[in-house]
Symmetry: D2
Subunit: 350 residues, 4 copies
């Protein structure tokens, strides 16, 4: 059994790790750390775990916790992961960081968008960006995983099959994304109140959201272009708890002459054999609810011949494929387990 500790277990992604790992047949949960609830039963913080999770939340005692565990899941605000990663590395343990600290290849990009100094930039080159459908082989060899952001996961799954293929104008990509409010975490702020979110849709972080450079980095890598891709990414807050839908607009290059069917075939070929990614038939568009509570992603795609534009939409559960489920998928790869173990449930519908 793999001994797993969760650092920052009382946020929403932490709690989702607990829910999923509790039923993972190869994992034993060891420590659940917290800043706000030290000494409280985890089941008091989240009463739906009553009689199911028995741990008491503990303080973030770095060396004791890292010593005991085989793998650390870091579900911390950005900027706080480095000491854990350093210690895990020293002890030869695996570490999966669900935050942003180990997602970037260029420390400058991280520092510019996150407004903090990275304390261990030399480790960035060891970290692997943990999107298994794109980087499976590297993940298997890694010890440090930078687990992707929720928006980048949905966006990259939607774009990957066309990047670097010579079909689209990679300088003009637009991503219009819609997310449930759980992505904002369990923080008591006015903007996340029910009465403010319900019956409401709004854009936020327009042209400034931190997931932009992460998507650009990964898109550029796949595109293989010398010049880095710049794109528009606009997130919107939806009146729902879970789910992300990314709608991506990609202009066909003047010389490209493809039909919707041809583009769909490319997507189907690209994701052939993937358990968690489903390319829908022509005219069937993904719904976030299909992925609710599951690690599955759904992709719809068409070509609008009138405007010579590819339109793709992808749907995921932001807390699962966009965070905790993908982290476990990465863990399965790190430990040579079947990649889907512990993640086989379908979405909850309705």
């Amino acid at each position: 059994m793999i001994k797993a500790a969760i650092i920052g277990a009382t946020g929403y992604t932490g709690a989702e790790l607990v829910r999923l790992l509790r039923c993972h047949p190869e994992v034993t949960l060891t420590d659940l750390t917290t800043q706000s609830y030290v000494g409280q039963s985890f089941a008091d913080v989240y009463p739906h775990f009553q009689d199911q999770v028995t741990q008491v939340c503990c303080a973030q005692d770095l060396s004791a916790i890292a010593g005991e565990a085989d793998v650390l899941f870091l579900a911390l605000p950005h900027g706080l992961s480095v000491p854990w990663v350093v210690e895990a590395r020293r002890l030869g343990k695996k570490v999966i960081d669900l935050g942003a600290d180990f997602r970037f290849r260029q420390v400058q990009t991280y520092e510019q968008w996150y407004h903090v100094t990275h304390e261990a930039p030399e480790l960035l080159s060891e970290a692997v960006y943990g999107l298994p459908e794109l980087h499976r082989a590297s993940i298997r060899q890694a010890s440090i995983i930078g687990n992707p952001g929720c928006y980048p996961t949905a966006s990259m799954l939607a774009m990957a099959p066309l990047l670097g293929q010579g079909l689209i104008d990679e300088g003009r990509i637009i991503i219009d994304a819609k997310s449930g409010v759980s992505g904002a975490g369990r923080k008591a702020v006015l903007g996340s109140l029910y009465a403010e979110v319900n019956e409401n849709v709004k854009p936020y972080g327009v042209a400034t959201h931190r997931h932009t450079p992460e998507i650009e980095q990964e898109a550029s890598r796949l595109a293989g272009s010398d010049q880095a891709i710049k794109l528009s990414f606009t997130p919107h807050l939806m009146p729902m708890t879970r789910g992300i839908l990314a709608t991506v607009y990609m202009d066909l290059r003047p010389e490209a002459d493809v039909t919707a069917a041809q583009v769909r075939e490319r997507y189907q070929a690209f994701y052939a054999g993937e358990t968690f990614v489903h390319v829908m038939d022509e005219g069937v568009w993904p719904q976030t609810k299909w992925s609710y509570g599951s690690n599955h992603a759904f992709i719809g795609v068409t070509v609008d011949r009138r405007t010579r534009r590819v339109i793709v939409a992808s749907a995921i559960d932001n807390l699962i494929k966009g965070a905790s489920g993908q982290a476990i998928q990465n863990m399965n790869l790190l430990f040579d387990l079947p990649e889907t173990i512990g993640l086989t449930m379908s979405g909850i519908y309705p």
Copy 2:
């Protein structure tokens, strides 16, 4: 492996059976029958099962289906179960009816409240009311299970520890229940439209809902009273998809002198060892979201000394503990499997 067929698989309870049984380690799904979608892929009807469920919906060919399966799950409108039960019985197969046809001991009660004639009243005495926490031993011996209604499940779990104990006035029980709209099934009716249900709460079926006699039957049985219990049951429609909360008011008898702590102890003792029923601490009241997507039930209880009244609230997922999950719990008992197998996931929160 147990071969399970689902009769009426394209409604919400049918689809929930598919979701849960697909991951049950001891079950193979055989036929998924339907009235409306014969010949369509099940994953076309419910695209969230794309690449996960491969069956094509089939017609309700009674003898072929019953012949092949070890157990039949009937997710049909009331009045349609009898032929399936008769055939299953003839072939020595187990049958779990999620509808109302085999829940009643007195055929008159059923016929009076459901306004149909029961076509096999002689089988009612063979059927066992499938609420495992109350009737586990009988269920193990049974071949025909009348799977409880969603409201009766929530209500009985809330009342059972006090019935027949001499503490409450069993002639004055009031149940005020709140349900998500999935309980109305997948039917295109005005009253279930999003725009009509959202930001809306309403009572319905006041003093006339068909779950009333079912609750009265089971409450009377536990009370052991000669005279049948009559009670008020008022369901309300909530702006949510899943979940039932039953708030139950029970007057203390004049001679009863108990504290909230004593009543809670009684509940804890009654449900000691139950995996799926959780009695909360004083001051902690259940929330339907705790049970979302799970087979777990949560119970809060107090005694209001000012009004000499016991107030209990219980929360379940109406489609799982209130329907499909409980049906699988019953199947596990029928086949001598561990009772919780396939049902171990905690609720999805948030």
Copy 3:
């Protein structure tokens, strides 16, 4: 034109007063006070008022504000109203307190349930409980209005026609109430977050909610009974922003022999001529959405002959008939205006 100031304008009830009074043909809004946003434009705090409300939020400068206004609306947390009421009285101004400080006739009741000392108990006898349908004549003569709580408004409208009529057992009343989350105000707390409230129903304040003694006081007054009524009041939080539904259970006395039609006639007679209270036909039950954004209340009633119980449900918008709309209805009475002026809009549906 009546000059109206709103003390505590940046909470939800304050903002609702602004919305309604802005379009009231006989009112000019003067000062909008706040604790948190002094010096900010009101339209920055609530951008939906952009270009519509031009006031800057001001501090709570008691004498200047009270001197300028003809009427003060107090939308403050309980315990903070007394200085305003004292000053208004000194200056001969009208004051409508939307909080609890002037709702009670017995200061002990207030102090016991609210855990504060009342600083001007001698003024309680001057205050009139502002439920116009029950106390219209007194309101017209008053200078201090204790504007009713949201739950008490819904509950009293549901009960009033039967109290003191000799039909029901007034010692056994049960009120099971359901409210949208805006009733909790605009406070950044975990329990009001979208992700915690959505797809969720929960009881709270069971047997301890502060609206209980307010309902008991008013019910006792109507009942005219020597012995004070004690009743059960259980509020539940709904996944919606606005609306209260109160479901009331009243046992018929042994000697009472009435039909549903007779009881409905009594309700219709009681509310004949009332613009804002609508008694529905047999079998039609109120929905909170009918009252959304309006001052209207809807009442459904039946008699369950099986259990000899009257069941009544009433629906209001908690922020309007349950707070700000009723306050304006009271203001209209205080200033001899037509009672419905400024409040004539129907509910917004869907």
Copy 4:
């Protein structure tokens, strides 16, 4: 008093016309016609109008109704308006068509996208596209108004200030729109059920939605370009009842050198003096809830210098500024009333 009849009053836009016109000080409602509810009281169809609307729904008796009314509001499915418009014209009455039949200048465009034959194409040139902020002068002179679609209203308000100004590449506009489900009307279909819409976001009508040519027509007109504008318009269904948010992406031309502040000034100048359109400050993005229940529109705009792209978002209530409110705004212009009369209420928040 203007006598107004509503043809097709029992749909959502019809009911919204009733709600707004009932309180319009210069209007008397005459006939409310219906196909499904002839002979029923309108307040039985929509009980929130109990005691407020007394009309009985009548059949669509063309000449009697048109003869009596001064203005006809047509809230009919497309293809059904022509006889009403012909009759109104014959009698010299004004007619405001909330459907699509009189929005197009080229009958071919209408017929191609709506798949019906237009029965009176010769009248199209008499009809005026009723978006007052863009075509106020023409509306005042008109007798036939083609009331804009909900998506086109939100989209055109977002784009108008930049069209034909030489700043943007009008051949590459992308509109990503999000709508509440009331836009689908009051039709009992699976896709509009609460359980299917809640906690769900999905695109629909991708590259094929009928509002596309309407937006293209109006955008081309403002652009004044010889070549017709083609653009991408992608609607998404939101888990909410009301509200549309249109997010519009417009690429700056290579030679354009503008800042966000400059573009915002252009928007502010363009909408100066408009009561119903509000341009927000830098960094403030519109929310659909701000417009809930009101005729107000909110616009946010920025320039992303990294990608040389203007991003604009506009929010309206789809049933009011996107349908019934705008129709009344048009009526006010047709009858030389103050444009805002009957429409002054601010949005309902929260």
